[in-house]
């Protein structure tokens, strides 16, 4: 087992964090274009603004650990190391996609990376997280489960049932709340009675918890390392709340009528990628030229994924009913 120590992070690692966030940003911007062109169908939920969370967490996790997440899942999948080509192909509904075109944007899976989905019923995947952890415990496996969910899931029964089960059964789950303040178009102040210290809802379930700045990738990484170490040591759950903001609408279909421009503008300076770039430049870890090279590397990754997806074949109609049953 590899337990990450909270040590001074190496400059090369910082550059990786920057590049990984940049890949997600450019990937999402490309998705937006492809959606406008009708090459991606259905619902498309972009992770723009929230990249620090997926990247910070992924840098603190072991390969054996499970990740399970909600439908805004491209960022988590990319950060976890799933092939950008396969993710983009899935979005384009191609035979080469992560689920061979059966899942789409909201349902990205990769069992080889212990990436247990992409789930599109708000809160519905939380009980699965408890089950993944229960199996690990039962089989004496040294793995934990990270379960991402948004503030919209807080009011679902499945959230509360899972918090209770995880605590009663002492399950090694990191509940990772991405609080971007909006469940679709409804602000958390209008939907959640638990007060502004949202993470403290876990107190009622005797689950330790804390809140971090979800726009600061290093803060996310450090808090993740700490929380994961606690979980491994105690085999008990932990809840982390990362405060963040999505710069785009809920989905591509969202006209964003429920918040004003000023609010978005206030968050702009908190852009996690710009913040890390500034830090890298100020600390002398990177030059503008090096940043430019990382940007180009990210761009090439996304362009390559797009080209792969667009040139991939559609799924074979003869396989339509394959995999209904195992």
């Amino acid at each position: 087992m590899q337990v990450l120590e909270k040590t001074e992070i190496q400059p090369s690692e910082l550059l990786n964090l920057y590049r990984d966030m940049k890949i997600i940003r450019l990937f999402e911007e490309k998705c937006s274009q492809l959606y406008m062109q009708g090459k991606i169908r259905g619902f498309l939920h972009l992770y723009i603004g929230e990249e620090a969370i997926a990247v910070g967490l992924a840098s603190a996790l072991n390969e054996d650990d499970h990740i399970i997440t909600h439908y805004r899942d491209h960022g988590h999948a990319l950060a976890r190391g799933l092939e950008p080509r396969a993710i983009m192909a899935e979005l384009c509904g191609k035979a080469t996609g992560t689920s061979f075109g059966r899942g789409g944007s909201m349902h990205i899976f990769d069992a080889s990376k212990n990436f247990a989905g992409g789930h599109a019923i708000v809160g519905g995947h939380l009980p699965l997280a408890a089950g993944l952890a229960l199996a690990a415990k039962q089989l004496n496996e040294d793995r934990i489960v990270v379960c991402f969910f948004g503030d919209g899931a807080l009011n679902q029964g499945e959230f509360h049932e899972t918090m209770n089960l995880a605590s009663v059964w002492k399950l090694p789950v990191l509940f990772f709340l991405e609080n971007n303040f909006y469940g679709m178009g409804s602000h958390i102040d209008r939907t959640f009675a638990g007060g502004s210290k949202v993470h403290t809802i876990a107190d009622r379930y005797k689950i330790p918890n804390s809140r971090i700045d979800g726009m600061d990738v290093l803060a996310v990484r450090e808090a993740s390392i700490d929380a994961i170490a606690k979980i491994r040591k105690t085999s008990k759950p932990y809840l982390l709340e990362a405060v963040t903001y999505r710069f785009q609408g809920h989905s591509m279909a969202d006209p964003v009528t429920y918040r004003d421009r000023d609010e978005v503008d206030k968050w702009r300076p908190r852009d996690p990628i710009a913040l890390l770039k500034e830090m890298l430049l100020e600390a002398g870890h990177a030059s503008e030229k090096l940043i430019g090279r990382l940007d180009e590397e990210a761009n090439l990754t996304v362009e390559d994924a797009t080209q792969f997806a667009e040139s991939s074949p559609d799924p074979d109609p003869n396989d339509l009913t394959k995999n209904i049953y195992a």
């Binding site: 069992a111 699965l128 089950g131 499945e158 195992a326």
Partner: protein, 326 residues
């Protein structure tokens, strides 16, 4: 050949699986210290310990979802939902997660969970506790639905279920637990899915049922014999997969067919079965394929009212006389 009750046949099948496979766990409301609401898991807690016989909170979405997650990660959980009425609380987990995870992940994940649940009315429990949803679940691709009516099938189907890698709903009718029957001594005895069983041979009319309605059909067949009408009785045994071929062949022989079930007649699964038979055996029919279901009312409490809502043998006799003049 040993004679067992249906309850003991299920217990036997569960014990075998617990003994043979350490990945098998049993979880649900009061399966442990209480010995199971219907006493199927009596003594299991003492024998196997609380790490494998897990009492859950009253939290159906939570623990059914946890069972599905555990199945995705390598366990073979048997999850007991005390009655099928409570499965509605977990229907998101059963329908959106268990039934779809294999297909939606492109075959990467599967959910080999056995959900045992108790179905049926007739016990004076009124409207919320007397429903039969097994037919509804059988309409969902990705699930398998078993409805044993006799002890040998209860054991044989359970043995097959433990070898299957798909989510299974194993539906036990509340009024059949004390039905007695012979069990083959051969430990390799199994009952395949998707193979109906002819419980009584006859040449004049085919009566089709599942669960308790098989017993109702057998009672009707005895009465019909008094009128010199020789009825064949077929037990579907599994609703999904469904064995239509046996029904067609029988109907081609008898030229008449009645499908009987206890759930509401409107939209009942049996009406689909009747449709398949009339479509495929049309040229051999002497009259329409009949469908007898429960009365379209919420189950009433008072005994005299409740018995008016569930098909009994007289309903079958009346329908056969009216439609076929037999």
């Amino acid at each position: 050949m040993a004679e067992l009750t249906l309850r003991d046949a299920i217990s036997l099948g569960l014990r075998e699986a617990m003994d043979n496979d350490p990945r098998v766990i049993i979880m649900g409301e009061d399966v442990g210290a209480y010995n199971g609401a219907y006493v199927v898991t009596k003594g299991f807690l003492e024998e196997y310990g609380e790490s494998r016989i897990i009492d859950t909170p009253i939290s159906e979405a939570g623990f059914v979802g946890a069972g599905i997650g555990a199945a995705m990660a390598g366990l073979k959980p048997v999850v007991e939902i005390m009655t099928i009425n409570f499965s509605l609380m977990a229907s998101d987990q059963i329908i959106n997660n268990a039934a779809k995870i294999h297909y939606m992940s492109g075959g990467q994940y599967s959910a080999p969970i056995i959900i045992r649940t108790v179905t049926g009315g007739g016990a004076g429990l009124a409207a919320t506790h007397s429903q039969s949803f097994e037919g509804f679940y059988a309409t969902i691709p990705g699930l398998k639905v078993l409805t044993p009516a006799f002890p040998d099938d209860a054991l044989g189907l359970l043995r097959t279920a433990f070898k299957d890698n798909n989510p299974i709903l194993y539906c036990e009718h509340a009024l059949l637990y004390n039905v007695r029957g012979e069990i083959p001594d051969d430990s390799s005895f199994e009952v395949p899915f998707g193979k109906a069983k002819t419980r009584r041979n006859g040449s004049d009319i085919t009566l089709v049922g599942y669960g308790r309605s098989v017993h109702t059909a057998l009672l009707a067949a005895e009465k019909l014999q008094e009128r010199n009408v020789d009825a064949e009785v077929i037990d579907l045994r599994t609703l999904r997969p469904l064995d239509i071929q046996t029904l067609i062949e029988s109907t081609q022989k008898t030229h008449r067919c009645v499908v009987i079930e206890e759930t509401w007649a409107t939209g009942g699964f049996g009406s689909y079965v009747a449709y398949e038979i009339q479509k495929n055996a049309f040229d051999d029919l002497d009259g329409p394929v009949l469908h007898i279901g429960g009365l379209d009312v919420p189950a009433p409490y008072a005994r005299n009212l409740e018995i008016m809502t569930i098909p009994n043998e007289q309903w079958i006799l009346d329908a056969v006389e009216k439609e076929f003049g037999l």
